[in-house]
């Protein structure tokens, strides 16, 4: 077989300019470094949310356990969901958006590098606001879905829900800023010849996701503004005593919440669409169909929200319509699955860890897709919704789909990110323990749900026929934990000591593999001209980028200055703006505490600080 991998150099290529101090990270506007910040932060929250899940499963390992109290449990499941959705899967996807999109389209950075840094710092601030209170027993406890009126002040008078409202609002700012940035980047900054239908599928799926973000997040923002006004200023958007209809929240939440599911899953679909062709040594089967399916899934995703609400009594017409639209989504999703299988058909499949995770995604997402169809039938869903069957379903989608896809991406792109390979033996151990653990945890939940176990219960009675399934689920978590521990050991060890990767260790076909690993700060020494979807399989790498002689000098890569490439200045302003904005919003907490002057003082001071920072930002030159 023809192997495409280039021989690896003995040392990591560098321009000799790479700064490593803390200050360099706080002020960075380099999309690759921001990608690393997202990655590391999201992995930290992954451990955090995983520990929450482990406590939940320990509490439910047997009936009538007393490891945590009801209130603690309610905080744990609320924070597990909120953390995994907003602080793990979304930012893991963001890590790939940041790192990959400019590389895949042949650009030197994103369109707005400083806005990109701002997105990250705002995300981090929002994450801290929403997660930190659990250490003081004051974590949000209204569920990640935060149904009114339970979240209104009449029924949740503590600060718990305040942190959730403020944290989510702040996180929304980060997501929206990033989405506009990536849309602009993809539309404007593609290399010559990189027409839309030559873009790598990951970039395509990211492109779709950014539109989902800018269409879905304003809805949750409005819903949260109502709740915020209710809680801090005494308005009555959700006050049932004043005649409010709590279904307002549910509709707004799910108009956001369902596209959110696709925001979580489509980037993973994009990643496996990169991994499967490389390790099958075949182009993606049905590229245009996969792209159009992704667009269609995103578009249909806005027309199915009320399938989360079949039990609220919307009436037979709405129930029927949302049943049928939901079923329709199965078609483009199934098409993707079959195209992925067909990509492998006739290929030369190399079972790298990355490839195994990608194959596992195809296998496990299929399960989640099928149970999704089971929910789409509204009457049948009346037995399934709010039972453990639903918990099984969306974990197959989000762990079996999103997390496995992201893991495939991490193993695949780690060499490009760090210049070093993740260890394959540890990777295989990670794969098997994690995939077995995931199935062991989530498959039995189908059964406990269908046998009548409701979700969000902190305990259950003995003799209900649920013990064995719950015990199996809890044992599965041990396997998952072992798998993730192996991963982290591998990740940390390989970052410093892994085998040196070279430009293209996998023989991959897309643009990012033509340049050195780790990528120099300017990405491409000169902007490539693209003539096909798989340039490195169809063209010689040397035709795409400048020859080694032109880009290196004295055993190192040339610097941006030597190549005459203007680079954006590092700046602390995005971080300062993020801090002011977060502090300004958190000033609202003092209204809850009854100290209006202090609240106003903080908000006005921080608001002025934010305004001055933005003026300084907008008036200082980029490069």
């Amino acid at each position: 077989m023809t192997t495409m991998a280039a021989p690896a150099p003995a040392t990591l290529p560098t321009t000799g300019e790479y700064k490593t101090g803390i200050w360099s990270w706080l002020t960075t506007v380099d999309h690759k470094r921001i990608g690393i910040l997202y990655l590391v932060t999201a992995l930290f929250f992954f451990v955090w949310g995983g520990l929450e899940a482990a406590i939940i499963r320990a509490q439910l390992a047997g009936p009538n356990m007393g490891l945590v109290t009801a209130q603690q449990y309610n905080q744990l499941f609320t924070m597990h969901g909120t953390t995994m959705v907003f602080l793990v899967i979304m930012p893991l996807s963001s890590a790939f958006f940041n790192f990959l999109i400019p590389l895949q389209i042949g650009a030197r950075d994103v369109a707005f590098p400083r806005l990109n840094a701002f997105s990250y710092w705002v995300f981090l601030a929002g994450g801290i606001v929403v997660t930190l209170p659990i250490l003081f027993g004051m974590a949000p406890d209204g569920g990640w879905f935060g149904y009114a009126p339970l979240t209104t002040k009449a029924y949740s008078s503590g600060y718990n829900i305040d942190y959730w409202v403020l944290g989510l609002q702040i996180l929304g700012v980060a997501s929206l800023a990033a989405a506009f940035n990536f849309i602009t980047t993809i539309i404007n900054m593609r290399a010559p010849g990189m027409v839309l239908m030559r873009m790598p599928v990951f970039t395509w799926m990211s492109f779709v996701v950014q539109f989902l973000v800018i269409l879905a997040f304003p809805v949750i923002t409005a819903a949260l503004v109502f709740l915020l006004f209710d809680r801090f200023f005494g308005t009555n958007f959700y006050t049932v005593a004043a005649g409010a209809d709590p279904l307002l929240w549910q509709h707004l939440f799910w108009v956001f919440g369902h596209p959110e599911v696709y925001i979580l899953i489509l980037p993973a679909f994009g990643l496996v669409s990169e991994v499967l062709p490389t390790f099958s040594r075949k182009p993606l089967f049905g590229y245009p169909v996969i792209v159009y399916s992704g667009i269609l899934i995103g578009a249909l995703g806005f027309g199915v929200w009320a399938h989360h609400m079949f039990s609220v009594g919307m009436g037979p017409i709405a129930d029927s319509v949302f049943s049928v639209t939901t079923m329709l989504i199965a078609i483009p999703t199934g098409v993707k699955i079959l195209n992925w299988v067909s990509t492998m058909w006739g290929g030369q499949i190399r079972f790298t860890t990355s490839m195994m995770f990608a194959i596992a995604l195809v296998a496990m997402f299929t399960v989640g897709g099928i149970s999704g169809i089971m929910h789409s039938s509204a009457p049948a869903d009346l037995q399934q919704t709010d039972s453990y069957f639903v918990v099984a379903h969306f974990h197959y989608v989000l762990v079996g789909g999103a997390v496995l896809g992201i893991m495939a991406g991490v193993y695949y792109y780690f060499p490009k990110l760090t210049g070093r390979m993740l260890d394959e033996t540890l990777g295989k151990w990670h794969f098997w323990t994690f995939v077995i653990g995931t199935n062991l945890t989530f498959f039995p939940m189908h059964m406990s749900g269908l046998y009548g176990m409701p979700r969000r219960i902190y305990t259950y009675d003995a003799g209900q026929g649920w013990e064995m399934y719950n015990l199996l689920s809890s044992i599965g978590v041990i396997f998952q934990a072992i798998g993730m521990t192996i991963f982290f050991v591998n990740f940390i060890r390989s970052w410093k000591k892994g085998a040196i990767a070279g430009n293209n260790p996998w023989g991959a076909p897309t643009l990012e593999w033509a340049i050195p690993s780790p990528v120099p700060d300017y990405n491409f020494a000169h902007i490539p001209v693209v003539t096909s979807r798989y340039p490195l399989w169809d063209q010689k790498a040397g035709d795409l980028v400048k020859s080694e002689a032109e880009t290196t000098t004295g055993g190192r890569l040339k610097t941006a200055a030597e190549l005459g490439i203007p680079m954006p200045f590092p700046t602390i302003l995005p971080l300062v703006a993020a801090v002011f904005m977060t502090a300004m919003l958190c000033g609202l907490l003092f209204i809850h505490a009854g100290n209006l002057p202090l609240a106003l003082g903080i908000m006005i001071t921080c608001g002025l600080g934010l305004a001055f920072t933005l003026i300084k930002w907008l008036t200082s030159p980029l490069e």
């Binding site: 339970l150 075949k282 492998m344 299929t366 009346l382 269908l450």
Partner: protein, 422 residues
């Protein structure tokens, strides 16, 4: 290639493990199963479920089989040729777009039909039951009978029951897995759910809240009895009257036999006149209830039990006096006790005829009831009913009960009184 044979072995092991789990599942008991055919609602849902499971399994087996075959057949061989660089196949794409669409028609048509059938208006002859959700207990009203009760629901076999679902506070969801799907209780709205328990005889089953509703969501259960129509009338006639002290419940009026009735609501008997009813009405016999049904919730650590000797000294008449002068009357109604007209907590008129306590959380015996009165907030997190026992620590107020607290002897009296309310 060793990697692949290892893969194959592992897949085999995983399949075997799943098959074992499935076998084990068939052998064990599932008292809260959603697959039962006890109502037309349950049958309609299970009909859809069978189709969903059938098609789902077929698609699952097909996709996974092709996937496994592909990764085994096309694993890389050393020095294998570069694969043919195919980019797609329009015929295939069209095929696998149309085939799922056709399968979905077979699911969508019965789905829509069932949606309209199950959400049609209930027959006029249906038994009306008003369900009112409270954090964290259930109020049941039978407007045709003038009954208000809590947490234990009696349904006559063979008669359609139409639930009107409301909530006093946050959202809840009314779910009896054995009888059919759930329906939410939405503030400022009334939802409806109806079905006919027509293929089950006398049975005791579980119901529970299925919408997260705060601290004790997990503890918001209820108990459901399907009973013969005559027994239901006996129960209803008695529930309507003020409480009767200290008389044993009557034996079931008729043996428990399954009533198969195709026509919904065909058995709509009129309530028996109260003056001809026996002094104590029907209650579901405890000895006919299966073990799974009885709550096994452990008692909270750190709550001192009241000794049996003290409980034995409890006097119902004295208890009535204590009860009527305590905080209890602010929240609870006992018809026949003019002092006790509160409507915040559960109606206690026939409390002694109930088998469980605190929304299905504990068995209704003297010991559990005594501890409940003493410190309900330790027994069930977050409850509105504050701690009553003298010198008990109220876990929500974070202070000891001093003035107005009940001594153990007083608790024993109140227990005797409440348990006498048959």
């Amino acid at each position: 290639m060793t990697g692949t044979s290892r893969l194959r072995r592992s897949l085999g092991a995983a399949t075997a493990a799943l098959a074992l789990a499935a076998l084990a599942a068939c052998g064990s008991d599932h008292p809260n199963s959603t697959f039962l055919h006890w109502t037309e609602f349950g049958r309609d849902i299970d009909f859809l479920w069978d189709r969903l499971l059938g098609w789902g399994t077929a698609v699952f087996v097909l996709v996974e089989a092709v996937l496994v075959y592909t990764i085994i057949r096309f694993r890389a061989k050393p020095d294998g040729p570069t694969p043919v660089q195919t980019h797609g196949n329009t015929t295939l794409e069209i095929t696998w777009t149309i085939v799922p669409a056709v399968i979905l028609v077979f699911i969508a048509v019965p789905t829509v039909r069932t949606v309209f059938k199950t959400q049609a208006k209930a027959p006029d002859s249906a038994l009306q039951v008003e369900v009112i959700g409270h954090q964290w207990w259930w109020e049941f009203k039978y407007p045709q009978y003038g009954i208000t009760t809590a947490n234990e629901l009696y349904l006559p076999v063979g008669r359609t029951v139409n639930f009107a679902l409301k909530t006093k506070d946050v959202l809840h969801s009314f779910w009896i897995p054995n009888l059919g799907g759930k329906r939410d209780l939405i503030s400022n709205r009334t939802n409806y759910l109806w079905f006919t328990p027509d293929s089950i005889g006398a049975a005791a089953m579980n119901g529970q809240c299925a919408e997260y509703c705060g601290d004790s969501h997990a503890n918001m259960k209820f108990k459901v009895f399907t009973v013969a129509p005559a027994d239901f009338e006996s129960w209803a006639a008695h529930q309507k009257r003020p409480a009767v002290f200290g008389v044993a419940p009557a034996a079931p009026a008729t043996p428990a036999v399954p009533v198969k009735s195709a026509a919904r609501g065909a058995v709509a008997a009129a309530p028996a006149p109260a003056d001809t009813a026996p002094p104590v009405g029907y209650a579901f016999p405890a000895d006919q209830i299966k073990p799974f049904w009885w709550p096994k919730t452990p008692l909270p650590a750190g709550l001192a039990e009241i000794p049996d000797a003290v409980l034995a000294q409890g006097d119902a008449a004295r208890g009535k006096d204590t009860y009527s002068r305590s905080a209890c009357i602010g929240c609870h109604t006992i018809t026949g006790n003019p002092m006790s007209m509160g409507v915040i907590g559960p109606n206690l008129t026939h409390f002694g005829s109930r088998h469980t306590l605190a929304a299905g959380l504990f068995p209704n015996d003297a010991k559990h009831l005594a501890m409940w009165i003493k410190n309900s907030r330790m027994m069930k997190p977050g409850v509105l009913m504050n701690t009553q026992g003298m010198n008990e620590m109220d876990p929500m107020m974070h202070q000891k009960v001093t003035t107005g607290g009940l001594t153990d002897a007083q608790v024993a009296d109140v227990v005797a009184y409440l348990r006498a309310l048959k």
